[in-house]
């Protein structure tokens, strides 16, 4: 919880933030600033997003306790990230596309969107609770040290997009929706580094045929 990454902050360092941090300004002082989300997520094996919204594209969603247990358990094997959006608008679709799962805080449906600080507090609390108990061990068959990190996944998704374009498969109008579906599929599978390499090899083979044909 003391490793805070800030993506493209409006102003940082910020006197108001330092004042509000009160005795916790050491966390702010050590915060890492990134220009892009992908940079911040680089190296993370599991990315969980905090979201109040129900979404059209199915994305696995966990209650805070279950989400915290999962994050704590996996953090013992590899870096994990808990991702928060803006105070005003939360996470964008493109940001949620990076998430393996969402954590949803149950709330009064008539007032379901918590302040950012409130959401952080609830999840920080559940993470602390989860860290004290021996949470359920991740299934060995499901999670290995070799699960691909965020940069490898983004490299693959970029390659996939290009390959679909080269194959003439993705019509521009459908491409975003199609790619989002494929993202969900592959994020669910938690590919290993080796599997990503195999998949990219297949994509290259498909593209190669095309360029040979030219």
């Amino acid at each position: 919880l003391d490793r805070l990454w800030l993506v493209a902050p409006k102003s940082f360092p910020c006197a108001e933030a330092t004042a509000r941090a009160s005795g916790a300004d050491d966390v702010l002082a050590r915060a890492r600033v990134c220009h892009t989300l992908d940079e911040a997520l680089s190296g993370c094996r599991l990315v969980a997003g905090s979201s109040a919204r129900l979404r059209a594209v199915p994305c696995p969603s966990l209650a805070p306790q279950a989400g915290a247990e999962r994050l704590v358990a996996e953090s013992r094997l590899a870096p994990v990230a808990l991702l928060f959006g803006r105070e005003s608008a939360g996470l964008s679709n493109e940001e949620i596309d990076r998430c393996h799962l969402l954590v949803h805080i149950p709330a009064n449906p008539q007032y379901s969107s918590l302040n950012l600080a409130s959401a952080v507090q609830v999840l920080a609390y559940e993470l602390r609770v989860a860290s004290g108990v021996s949470g359920p061990e991740p299934l060995r068959s499901e999670i290995t040290d070799d699960v691909a990190e965020a940069g490898q996944l983004e490299g693959f998704f970029g390659h996939l997009e290009q390959a679909l374009f080269d194959l003439g498969f993705a019509h521009p109008r459908q491409a975003d929706k199609l790619l989002r579906r494929l993202r969900r599929l592959f994020l669910r599978a938690r590919p290993t580094t080796e599997e990503i390499n195999i998949l990219r090899g297949i994509l290259s083979a498909a593209q190669g045929r095309k360029s040979m044909r030219r």
Copy 2:
């Protein structure tokens, strides 16, 4: 959670409080103002105090989840109260003397005293979870009715094998091992029927390029 009692507030109604309440100003508007704590607690059968302090006088102390479950269970029999202190100094000894039990939020020992708003948020969250109104889990499962059945999966794997062969990607000696790995990847993802159709469409596009080349 919508029955708020204020004991000897410095100023009420208060324009700043109303502004900060945002969409929840109905709770403030209905708040009852009392001169003494005893007046506010009149009629309550169980009083739980929120406290970060360890106390010299022994008082039963529960974790938030256990405390919330107790409050919710007893609230079905008779009125209960959850008591918060001042932002600056928490509850006094005399106020804690009124409590049947304390609820203690676990936190970093080096920074163990939460803001009042943070403590209220954590306990309101645990009360909501304990009340069960949010259901066992707002879970959007990874598994839907639409998960592809075995025959659809085998059809896809057969198509995949043929496509890899057509692309010249799978050398016969490695093909079995490669296909087995890809099987594991896709079985882990639990593709839906629609996703299988998308994947087969991509395979057909890749194969189509090849046959056009012939």
